[in-house]
Symmetry: C2
Subunit: 207 residues, 2 copies
Amino acid sequence: MHMMRAVTDIALFKIIDNNLCVLIVQRAKDPYVWKRCLPWWFINAENETVEQTAYRVLKTETGISHAYLEQLHVFSSIHRDPRWRAIWVWCMWIITTGQKIIPGASQKNVMFCPIKNLPSLVFDHQEIVAYAHKVILNWAENGSIIKHFLPPKFTLSHLQTIYEILLSRTYEKRNFRRVIEKIWLKPTKQKERWVSHRPAIYYMFRK
Amino acid sequence: MHMMRAVTDIALFKIIDNNLCVLIVQRAKDPYVWKRCLPWWFINAENETVEQTAYRVLKTETGISHAYLEQLHVFSSIHRDPRWRAIWVWCMWIITTGQKIIPGASQKNVMFCPIKNLPSLVFDHQEIVAYAHKVILNWAENGSIIKHFLPPKFTLSHLQTIYEILLSRTYEKRNFRRVIEKIWLKPTKQKERWVSHRPAIYYMFRK
DNA sequence: TGAATAGTGTCTTTGAGACACTATATG
DNA sequence: CATATAGTGTCTCAAAGACACTATTCA
């Protein structure tokens, strides 16, 4: 009477070419064969948590071992999938820029797609992307999610660019730097190299 | 292999006597008989969503039919309860001030307790309260959760008091009123009555 | 009328935006 | 040296805080 399945649906975000992108896959079987959707896997009841299942997806679809995971929402409609009663845990991974992706160990057609130009997705996965995007916007406003899009060391201009992409606005350089004085940044001893202009100092987050 | 149980753990908040309080129950059976914890129920796999289970808890423990529900987190540790594999959905209800509670249809010892003076709770329910409190703080800062603590009609002083309780700070009356001009308030045609001072106008939220 | 809280006018202080400037790397 | 981006000094303007004031009800 109490038993059901549990599933993780994954929205996997990365900034590529100044666009916030999400990873989508092409289905290899029914239902909706050949249609696009987000990756989703069953949680193995014997030995897996939500996070461990999410990690399996990350590793399989991108080859990456470290990223930032956040739960978004639980969806538990009784009739969402008529084949079995389940509970769906929506999750979001955020991958830093500049990280090399090795896609498709799962043999599926895997691609990153800018969310401003998303094709239609089957199931209710469009809604998951929209929900995740709202969460990102919300947490970008107070700056708390920005760090997860950045590599460990980054220039202040890079940080500014991430803010601008996520919040769809621009900042004046001088004022931006005054604002971020509040967030815990620490200059490293490294600078940019081989750039044909004054090299920027690399910074990192503290704590 | 994929089947498991699903549970909702409920943190039910209400402001009582200028304190943010949470509802706790006393267990009637093992494990932890007589110990205190949050109410938690199984999700009936045949005919219930997370929200419907949460509603059963609300109705049973308080007699109330309307409140604000928010999902907090999913907890899915394999060994949290050795008796069965489960997935725990943490939820939070927020009840407006001035709403009459009829506790204990469940026969349990039910009480509201100020979170600043919480007794120890069994399972990991202390952690749920802490998590919920963090979420409330977060959403109180931009004002988006405040409305759920208020009845449909309220005075500006009442609104200010809720802000002050949730954010543990004070506001200067003049400045507070300038700030809340931005949130969508609409004056009603009603005033306070039988108060021995200038009566305040009741306001309500729009949209 | 006095007590008590509602609600306002306005000066001061702080922080955000605009913009022009200087600094330092490559070639 | 020119070019390109990094990084700073400072004026302006808008929002937040401080504080004193007026308004309206009951007893």
